[in-house]
Amino acid sequence: MKNEEIVEKEKTPFREFWESFRANRLALVGLGIVFFFIVIAIFAPLLTSYAPDSQNLADRLLPPSASHYFGTDDFGRDLFTRVVYGARLSLWVGFLSVLGSALIGTFLGIVAGYYGKWLDTIISRFFDILLAFPSILLAIAIVAILGPSLQNALIAIAIVNVPTFGRLVRSKVLSVKQEEYILAARAIGMGDTRILTHHILPNSIAPVIVQGTLAIATAIIEAAALGFLGMGAQAPMPEWGKMLADSRQYLTDAPGTLFFPGFAIMFTVLGFNLIGDGLRDALDPKMK
């Protein structure tokens, strides 16, 4: 009899998460924005008949029109095309750098949190040192060593974000490893590796997902900032930050060269931030 009392609809953890995420309107808006930019990035060649770097000096700094939706820049390149192709670069840098820092940070955080002792001291002090620099300054320093390019900007951003993930995971691991099911797993004879990969890691990963989404937003801004400062993407790459930098001289003549890449940055970052906030609410058991 007691076995029948809890026959209810079965919800997988993912299903439960999705229902709670879906209830958040703003998060859905964010998801929509990001999805929109991803689609644009994938189908860029289908959306425009121009190439992002084909110059036409006769058509310099044109205002928006039917043939050039966003107008043209100082080399007569179609701005709409460049903003659309720019989505590829920014999303690529955002995803890849965050993937890198999340992987390295999670690994270091788990090692530091689980094994503790001197390993924890070394790893945590390493994080402290990285965090002691303002992040954009550290990124600039790393790019200065590696040489300015989009790829090196990506590496620099990845390194800069490692300690955020590392500390987050370390603190989560410290609390998860005190859970009774870890002791129970030990009591049925599980070894360290198995406990780490099957019990500690899956239970510590939720904040990484949230932080990851928010970090993509920051990474996109940082990539744009490096591009703006000439430390990231180099001409003629259609990178949003670089486009902003190029637009400065023509601000009054062709404000479109500033607005469109600027809005593109703003909306992608807004999208990721809204998703991140939604994820945080949906994954936080205390908010339910």
Partner: protein
């Protein structure tokens, strides 16, 4: 005589390192678990019950715990000296453990089946379907009729009592020789508690698994244990068969504990409680640990620590000076 001991703690001394001081938590504890018996380990919070049980499986975090001059014999193997690999083969396979909180002892991210299979496949080389059959069989043997369905359910879909049954199934699935149960019924309500106790007694009778049953509930001890050990301040103060200890308690602490159990038949205005509380480990340097709270304490009790004396031939032992002179008188007053 010796061969029917499954586990023999010859001596156990555990301390905890704080900043600079070493604080003694378990002092010269020694006992045996016989084959097929249920041994109760009773004491207040902080008396060292859980530490003792964790040290058997080598699960005490070290540091801060320091185990010295200790020997725990499981058959011929000293569990203190055993390597981590040896211990991993014993844990869950030959000695297993269930915990106080069924709500937090299962990993919330995996199905029950997943966690049961983890244990079976770790210790026995079986095919997936064979292992699956064993798990379902074990779940049924702990009274979960919907075993097949429960295999695919997550811990949050089960009630507390069912989870504790799952925990027992997890502990029993490899048919261990010893089951250590650390207050397995404390977090459950009374009706479920009695079902779980009945289940453990049945499993003990059916499989011959010895049980070390840790509790602070004397009622539970009376219900299922064969022998009982009373711990106080990291020491064993009394040991004997349940009948001896309950009918004829020798140590003032045991007597105090028994007196503290409320009796529904005589209406008391005030419930009895042993005055004071368990001393902080390391706070008492000499004499009997219980002396400051003992109503019979004499001068000698504050000076020397009493020996653990054997009182009867079937192994009723107590650690108290009173047993030597007053003991004779108390023995008869039942």
């Amino acid at each position: 005589m010796n061969c029917d001991n499954v586990l023999e703690i010859k001596r156990l001394n555990i301390s905890f390192m704080t900043d600079k001081k070493k604080i003694n938590a378990i002092n010269n504890v020694a006992f045996k678990i016989k084959k097929g018996e249920i041994l109760g380990l009773v004491g207040e919070s902080g008396s060292g019950k859980s530490i003792t049980s964790l040290s058997i499986l080598g699960l005490l975090p070290s540091p801060p715990a320091v185990i010295e001059e200790s020997e725990i014999l499981f058959h011929d193997l000293d569990l203190i000296q055993a390597s981590e690999q040896q211990m991993q083969k014993i844990r869950g396979n030959r000695i297993s453990m269930i915990f106080q909180e069924p709500m937090t002892s299962l990993n919330p991210l995996y199905t029950v089946g997943n966690q049961l299979l983890e244990s079976v496949q770790k210790h026995q080389s079986l095919s997936k379907s064979e292992a699956n059959d064993i798990c379902i069989h074990t779940l049924k043997s702990v009274g979960l009729a919907r075993a097949e369905a429960i295999m695919n359910e997550y811990p949050h879909q089960l009630s507390g009592g069912m989870r504790q049954r799952v925990m027992i199934a997890m502990a029993m699935v490899c048919q261990p020789e010893i089951l250590i149960a650390d207050e397995p019924t404390t977090a459950l309500d009374v009706t479920i508690q009695s079902q779980i106790l009945k289940l453990m007694k049945e499993l003990n009778e059916k499989t011959g698994t010895s049980v070390l049953f840790i509790t602070h509930d004397l009622g539970v001890v009376a219900e299922i244990c064969h022998r009982v050990i009373v711990m106080y301040g990291g020491r064993i103060v009394e040991e004997g068969s349940v009948l001896d200890v309950f009918k004829n308690p020798q140590h003032p602490y045991t007597r105090g504990l028994l007196k503290s159990v409320p009796d529904i038949r005589n209406k008391q205005d005030k419930l009895y409680a042993i005055p004071g509380s368990v001393p902080k480990p390391g706070s008492i340097q000499k004499g009997c640990y219980f002396a400051p709270r003992c109503e019979f304490a004499k001068d000698i009790c504050f000076e020397n620590e009493p020996e653990f004396v054997q009182l009867t031939e079937d192994g009723h032992r107590s650690r108290c000076f009173l047993n030597e002179n007053v003991g004779g008188a108390t023995k008869n007053d039942k």
